[in-house]
């Protein structure tokens, strides 16, 4: 048992408690935010120092490899951006900022565990750590919509957890193990023994687990909660849900399905086909529902569903390029959606509205803010020179390699449809008449968040190669 390997998570949890303690001692909540934000350097540095190792701990339940470290760094970056976005925003729920930051850190720790586990029970527990923290965060505003969001998220999350646990139980019952690699071996052996026949419990278990994880990533038909929760939650948390929580869901899906159910030949369950169908459904439903939305948070909620569909294209490709593409896509999408939500936070702080109609003429009142939001939206469409472009090209290409032409055609068609509703916002900002000429100032911490996000969107998009290498380096763990 090597606690050193758990350093990033443990230091993060320690940081969360420290934040609560300091919060008790001071009335200056900016100090708390600064502590939470700067404190992230410790787990980040720790995670970087573990880069290149492959080691496991807790009897093989937890593993440290390039795949998990990739995601850990992604979550830490997301947490840092959320904290930057929240400094001003969190005044709305004063004096509880300390708890707010602490819960964000705990949620991050949960996600980091999710990326690191290879055992069903630990997966479930870390998923619950992340989820319960997020239920709390979603209802933090305590107004009608936010409370509704928290309750809905909690109830439906519980339903999905039940589904997930049922799937895990079935898989355990059929194979006698909760460890992913042992499950894989047990399935392999039973298939050899029974001339390729697969126990129905395994198929059912796989489907239920796909359902449970599908809820986390908001894939159709498990997406119904997303718009309500995304709209009602505090906006920085909405960014966190789309950028980090979704990535955590994908991190688990990839590991569970590739390690436990992807190492046999032939596959016991044709889950790539399942994900391909879910992918097509998800992007189509997400995009079509986004079109009529008037509230930008709700629109981006549906957009986030659609993006889950695009990312699933890479999962369905079931290849190392596919996994690399998913990792790169998640990284890029995290920065893009964080940037977009940071811009929304900045705008709603001044306008007090999230209605797209109120964005009219924004380019004249806040030219830089409008430009950043436009760049993020362009990245969401998937146009160069942004990260969204390379990400889409890469997952589509991975799918083409596996002969999934129909899915790629679906994806391209959906990208074109999606341009309509994103560009509607850009059009309003640049061509609409402003309600007043008064400029909109942006608070300093938000400027930092916006700058980091937009620079990442452009830099990772213009110089994609090191990041693609980073992503494929993570993918090698799953597909040697």
């Amino acid at each position: 048992m090597n606690l050193y390997l758990l350093g990033p998570e443990l230091s993060l949890i320690g940081l969360a408690f420290l934040v609560i303690l300091v919060d008790l001692a001071t009335h200056n909540k900016n100090v708390v935010a600064a502590l939470a934000g700067i404190g992230l350097v410790v787990p980040a540095a720790w995670a970087v120092s573990l880069w290149g190792q492959t080691a496991s701990s807790f009897y093989g339940a937890l593993v440290v490899d390039s795949y998990s470290i990739f995601f850990k760094l992604l979550f830490i970056a997301a947490a840092a951006l959320v904290i930057l976005m929240s400094v001003q925003y969190s005044k709305r729920f004063a004096p509880y900022q300390g708890e707010y930051y602490a819960v964000i850190l705990l949620a991050t720790a949960g996600m980091m565990f999710m990326a690191s586990t290879q055992e069903l029970i630990s997966i479930y527990i870390s998923l619950e750590l992340a989820s319960i923290s997020l239920y709390v965060l979603a209802s933090f505003l305590k107004d009608a919509k936010s409370s509704e969001a928290g309750i809905k998220y909690l109830l439906l999350g519980a339903v999905s957890s039940a589904v997930l646990l049922y799937g895990m139980a079935l898989l355990y019952g059929a194979t006698g193990s909760t460890k992913l690699n042992e499950i894989a071996q047990a399935i392999q052996e039973s298939m050899q023994r029974d001339q390729g026949a697969v126990l129905p419990a395994i198929v059912l278990g796989a489907i239920f687990m796909a359902g449970g994880f599908g809820f986390k990533i908001a894939a159709v038909p498990f997406q119904m909660w997303a718009p309500d929760v995304y709209e009602g939650a505090p906006t920085p948390i909405t960014g966190f849900l789309t950028g980090a929580s979704k990535a955590a869901g994908f991190a688990v899906i990839l590991r569970v399905f590739f390690v436990a159910l992807g190492n046999q030949a032939p596959l016991p369950v044709d889950w790539p086909a399942l994900f391909a169908v879910l992918s097509a459904l998800t992007m189509t439903v997400g995009n079509l529902s986004a079109i009529p939305q008037a509230n930008i948070k709700r629109m981006l909620a549906y957009s986030s569903i659609a993006h889950a569909g695009f990312i699933l294209v890479g999962v369905a490709a079931f290849s190392s390029q596919g996994v690399g593409g998913v990792a790169y896509y998640l990284l890029g999408y995290m920065f893009t959606s964080m940037g977009a939500f940071a811009a929304i936070v900045a705008i709603s702080e001044r306008l007090g509205s999230d209605q797209i109609a109120d964005y009219s003429g924004l380019a004249r009142r806040a030219p830089l803010l409008a430009l950043i939001l436009a760049i993020c939206l362009i990245s969401l469409i998937g146009l160069p020179p942004t990260v969204g472009f390379v990400a889409k090209i890469y997952v589509f290409w991975a799918a083409l390699q596996q002969g999934l032409l129909w899915l790629v055609l679906f994806g391209v068609l959906n990208s074109v449809i999606s341009a309509y509703y994103y560009l509607r916002v850009v059009k309003a900002m640049y061509l609409g008449a402003p309600a007043s000429e008064e400029p909109l100032p942006v608070s300093r911490t938000l400027v930092v968040a916006l700058a980091v996000a937009v620079i990442a969107v452009l830099a990772i998009g213009i110089f994609p190669q090191p990041w693609l290498d980073f992503g494929t380096g993570a993918a090698i763990v799953l597909i040697p």
Partner: protein
């Protein structure tokens, strides 16, 4: 003398990045401090110029070789897209031309645009243009060239329309952008064709493929010819070749420094550069090369003939530019790469100088109409001298630079059996000498006719009119500096050095018959202009009245604009009208059908998205059951 080390490739890359830095700094920092913006641009381009000199020096030590650097941009499986730099003699000459002319034009602009509200914006655009143009020159593959090619197009659009409040400027910018787009379409198709057949856009790879008979089979069946013609069509648009030349005269609506840099010395020469850069492709496609020669000849002739009758200082120069670009293309087409590029090199300096003269004259008189000028020589000796040098150079009078390169082009045409091109080029030379000296004589000799206030009547003020003066130093010095290469740059190839530098055989043939003929023709042209406009032995109006049809034909620019107007109005809009009917009754019908279907299904989805938690949970379970059902039906 201590030897200078060869330039590292990072420094070559810096030539491109420096103006980009100035663009970013102006946009984000110094936008509100115009003076600093100007100096910033001058400094960065000056540094680029110094680095270009270093590149040039390095290349002289290694004739026929090249420098290169490649950066893997993105690797997708086997296909990797690379960004790379390719520097050979041709590149380093173009670098010198672009950075030196750009530097002088920026210095000139600080005075020319003094006090303009868009001063910072101007220098930001100019920085972007210079960077993009350097990108075209440095790129080692067609895709990169295409990207920068479009970027210089955008800059040209922005700068022609710099004074966008003027409707003519806005219209001219749009026209330039749209017309060149036609050529770029062919260019893009050529790129796609080459990539789909060979899998590479890298010049060296492409050249290897077309040079080896086995590999060239992938481009057999005339595909190579089509690819080359496609590339050439891009050049036709950008270099204002017939029949896409119509945008260049209108582009004169932009500020004069822009005309000098973009529409005389660099961007319009990019087409010539592109053909020269991809010349190995053309060499293997004789029909394409023949097309280049024919289009070049027509352009040279047509451009010069229209220059005969224009009254606007800058428009005369614009038609002259078209004509000279045609001459360069003709040079390439008849097989003389060195001759064509040599003429590009010489032309860049003297034509930029003449445009700056136009700006200088305008600075004093506030008009571009030469009929309202006159007698400027007395007040603006520097501008007048520069105009004379430019005129002698473009007419091809010994020892000015134009003499040497024009002689080479004519010699190549005659030597390679393009007799018709040769004859047309001689006629062009006559017309060139005529219109250029017509311009100089009318604007600079005789009596001053009052500038912008003349309005047709004779100006009757005192001859020592106080508003007439030589331009400030920032404008005059670039004229003087540009005059130097206009006189001496022709000697660069006297021993074949220039040719050897380009990696060609440096054999210099002095074509005495050509020299004699072309010089005679040019002198005749100058003499005719003298008789018409100074000695006034032959009354101009009489000639115009004697040949009213030809005069009108030229004055109306061969009715090309009217033809295009007619095509757009009658043919194109007619087709549009038909399509509109189709759209209204067929497409809209289908779309409306789909729309009502979507609305209906949206209603269904909305009912699902009711906010009812029980309903949502139900969907999850129904979904799961459906998936299990799917597996049961289709098998796991």
């Amino acid at each position: 003398m201590p030897s200078i080390p060869p330039i590292p490739i990072e420094m070559v890359a810096a030539i491109f990045f420096l103006p980009l830095v100035s663009l970013l700094l102006i946009t984000f920092v110094t936008r509100t401090a115009p003076k600093i913006s100007g100096y910033l641009t001058i400094t960065t381009i000056g540094l680029s110029f110094i680095l270009s000199l270093w590149t040039f020096q390095t290349m002289t030590t290694m004739p026929g070789k090249h420098l290169g650097g490649v950066f893997n941009w993105i690797v997708i499986g086997e296909t990797d897209l690379q960004l790379g730099i390719y520097v050979d003699g041709l590149t380093s000459i173009m670098l010198l031309v672009v950075t030196s002319v750009s530097l002088l034009v920026q210095i000139y602009s600080t005075a020319y645009l003094h006090g303009d509200p868009g001063y910072s914006r101007f220098f930001a655009y100019m920085s972007l243009f210079t960077a993009s143009m350097l990108g075209v020159v440095l790129a080692d593959n067609l895709l990169m060239i295409f990207i920068f090619w479009e970027l210089v197009g955008v800059c040209s659009y922005l700068l022609i329309g710099f004074w966008f409040q003027k409707p003519e400027a806005a219209a001219a910018a749009k026209k330039a952008f749209v017309v060149t787009r036609f050529g770029d379409l062919g260019f893009l198709m050529a790129i796609l064709l080459l990539f789909s057949r060979t899998g590479t856009l890298d010049f060296q790879h492409l050249f290897e493929i077309v040079d080896s008979p086995e590999k060239a089979a992938v481009l057999g069946g005339g595909l190579l010819t089509w690819a080359a013609i496609g590339i050439f069509s891009g050049a036709v648009g950008k270099s204002a070749q017939f029949p896409l030349h119509v945008w260049l005269p209108d582009a004169m609506e932009g500020p004069t420094p822009v005309s000098a840099l973009i529409h005389a010395a660099t961007m319009v020469a990019a087409g010539v550069y592109l053909v020269a850069r991809s010349f190995p492709l053309f060499e293997q496609a004789p029909q394409a090369l023949f097309t280049v020669a024919v289009i070049g000849t027509i352009t040279a002739f047509v451009g010069a003939s229209m220059g005969l009758v224009m009254h606007d200082f800058k428009r005369v120069l614009a038609y002259s530019t078209i004509s000279q670009l045609g001459l360069m293309m003709m040079g390439l087409g008849v097989g003389g790469v060195v001759a064509g590029i040599f003429h590009l090199f010489n032309h860049a300096f003297f034509k930029a100088m003449m445009f700056l003269c136009a700006g200088s004259a305008h600075h004093a008189t506030h008009t571009y109409d030469i009929r309202k000028m006159g007698g400027l020589a007395r007040y603006m000796p520097i501008t007048f001298s520069a105009m004379m040098i430019g005129g002698l150079s473009i007419s091809g009078i010994f020892p000015f630079s134009g003499f040497w390169s024009k002689d080479e082009i004519l010699g190549e045409a005659l030597g390679n059996g393009y007799n018709i091109s040769y004859i047309f080029a001689l006629i062009t030379a006559f017309m060139t000498a005529f219109y250029m000296f017509r311009l100089t004589f009318v604007a600079f000799l005789g009596e001053y006719r009052g500038g912008e206030h003349a309005e047709g009547e004779r100006w009757s003020g005192s001859p020592g009119h106080h508003s007439l003066h030589e331009s400030p130093a920032a404008m005059a010095i670039p004229l003087i500096v540009l005059a130097i290469p206009s006189v001496v740059s022709g000697f660069a190839n006297m021993n074949g050095d220039f040719a050897r530098f380009l990696g060609e055989a440096g054999v210099v043939k002095l074509h005495w018959d050509v020299i004699f003929t072309s010089t005679t023709v040019a002198l005749l042209g100058i003499l005719t202009a003298y008789l018409f406009y100074v000695a006034k032995v032959i009354p101009v109006e009489t000639v115009a009245r004697t040949f009213p049809h030809i005069h009108g034909f030229l004055l109306n620019k061969y009715y090309m604009d009217d033809l295009y107007g007619w095509i757009v109005e009658k043919l194109y809009l007619g087709i549009c009208h038909l399509l509109d009917l189709f759209d209204q009754y067929v497409v809209d019908g289908v779309v409306n059908g789909i729309a009502s279907l979507t609305t209906a299904s949206g209603g269904v989805i909305r009912r699902l998205e009711s906010g009812q938690v029980q309903g949502y949970a139900l969907v999850i379970f129904v979904g799961l059951v459906a998936i299990v059902g799917g597996f049961l039906v289709f098998g796991g």
